[in-house]
Symmetry: C2
Subunit: 271 residues, 2 copies
Amino acid sequence: MNRDQIFESILAKKSYLCIGLDTDLKKIPAHLLAEPDPIFAFNKAIIEATHDLCVAYKPNMAFYEAQGVRGWQALEKTIAFLNALETPVFTIADAKRGDIGNTSALYAEAFFENLNFDAVTVAPYMGADSVVPFLGFPEKWVILLGLTSNSGAQDFQLPNAFYRTVIEKAQNWANPDALMFVIGATRPAFFREIRALAPEYFFLVPGVGAQGGDLQSISAHGMNAHCGLIVNSSREILYASDGLDFAQKAREKALVLQQQMALILKEKFSI
Amino acid sequence: MNRDQIFESILAKKSYLCIGLDTDLKKIPAHLLAEPDPIFAFNKAIIEATHDLCVAYKPNMAFYEAQGVRGWQALEKTIAFLNALETPVFTIADAKRGDIGNTSALYAEAFFENLNFDAVTVAPYMGADSVVPFLGFPEKWVILLGLTSNSGAQDFQLPNAFYRTVIEKAQNWANPDALMFVIGATRPAFFREIRALAPEYFFLVPGVGAQGGDLQSISAHGMNAHCGLIVNSSREILYASDGLDFAQKAREKALVLQQQMALILKEKFSI
């Protein structure tokens, strides 16, 4: 999926919502545990109930790896199901990988070629040769950690504005057609300056919902002429109910966010 | 495995060698491809041929994830085989993970509880709450990226000696009984100052062999009173031959390194 297609999808769906498929066997409705593949059964129901309201899905690899082989099987079925949707959605492997060059190349193979995700999140600490192997796949994306939503961002990212060093340097490696940045929703005060630092790049924004980020503020300061924001919510949507109505309740939560986004998009782009 | 046990194992085996199980279907001997599980067949033969010469094994997750479900199955069989060896070896999941707290906790569950590795490599960018969930498992270890062996270390780690900031701060999170650092063998000039910065911590040292690191120099500047070094070699050992004799040739390569290490240990510890 290229940048124009992402923006077209945002305008068509009046949404820049990403739903994080952080599927946890301890939190999904108990009745699903009788299914042959409870993780996939949950994901499928969530996707069927929400895919007209969001432009992206983001399974976090940790939730699948914690289940070993059956987790990986559920992941394979989930990405295949996403890629078979009639209206394409943008798919993000939230993996936060990064290793020496020949090893990053294998992760790229795993996520882009074998699983056929559109994007993978990558950690910057190991520098250019850990990131570059993920680039150069047509219409595939690196989403590099910039300023994250968690408290630990205070340890290395915020001192001396190190996140700025990362966001500046990474722009030498890839243009806005192949690279996005993760910018946490819990830090709305930073969106204006980070948008100025990387005007054309998309930001993947986790932390709305359970982590407390504010959609209005982020959108006011973070949007660019092609929207430039994909805002993720995971737990608040997935676990809106643990009963038989979980998918319907997830849809209702997603709908609230989508309707807020529709208003913001209407004001910004007159749609 | 605790710190005393690691040091005892080093003295008993006269070795501080770690063998990186970076098992690549494109590089293993062709005759193994007829096996039901070529990756595990290769790993098992390598481990059987070398386990008296090394104190640790380090499968890099990328090589297994690139094979999807069958890769994960091979990984499970490999770690089970390692954990069943008569003489215990230290096992490292080279994963370079790191995510927000609740997600890092799931990675810890995956590697420490489900797979039963002794240690996992972790990337520092997301700070304390991305690392701390890996701590507090008895006799399990975090191995945090410090100064890596790849060229990309020049992008963020070396400018303003940022690796020092990471190594200093991380010592507030865990003592030398639960935390090690990755320090690349390709940077021997840094070993003296990093050892002074973290006198008691073990360093996992990749980059000897194919990447060009120098064992003598690293050992002279990096050892402490409990050895404090675990030196990894992967490709040079694994792919010493692609014939029927691959395991024997791997043993010969490992033996060269072990004999060099035995001399260094003899001089340092009079064993």
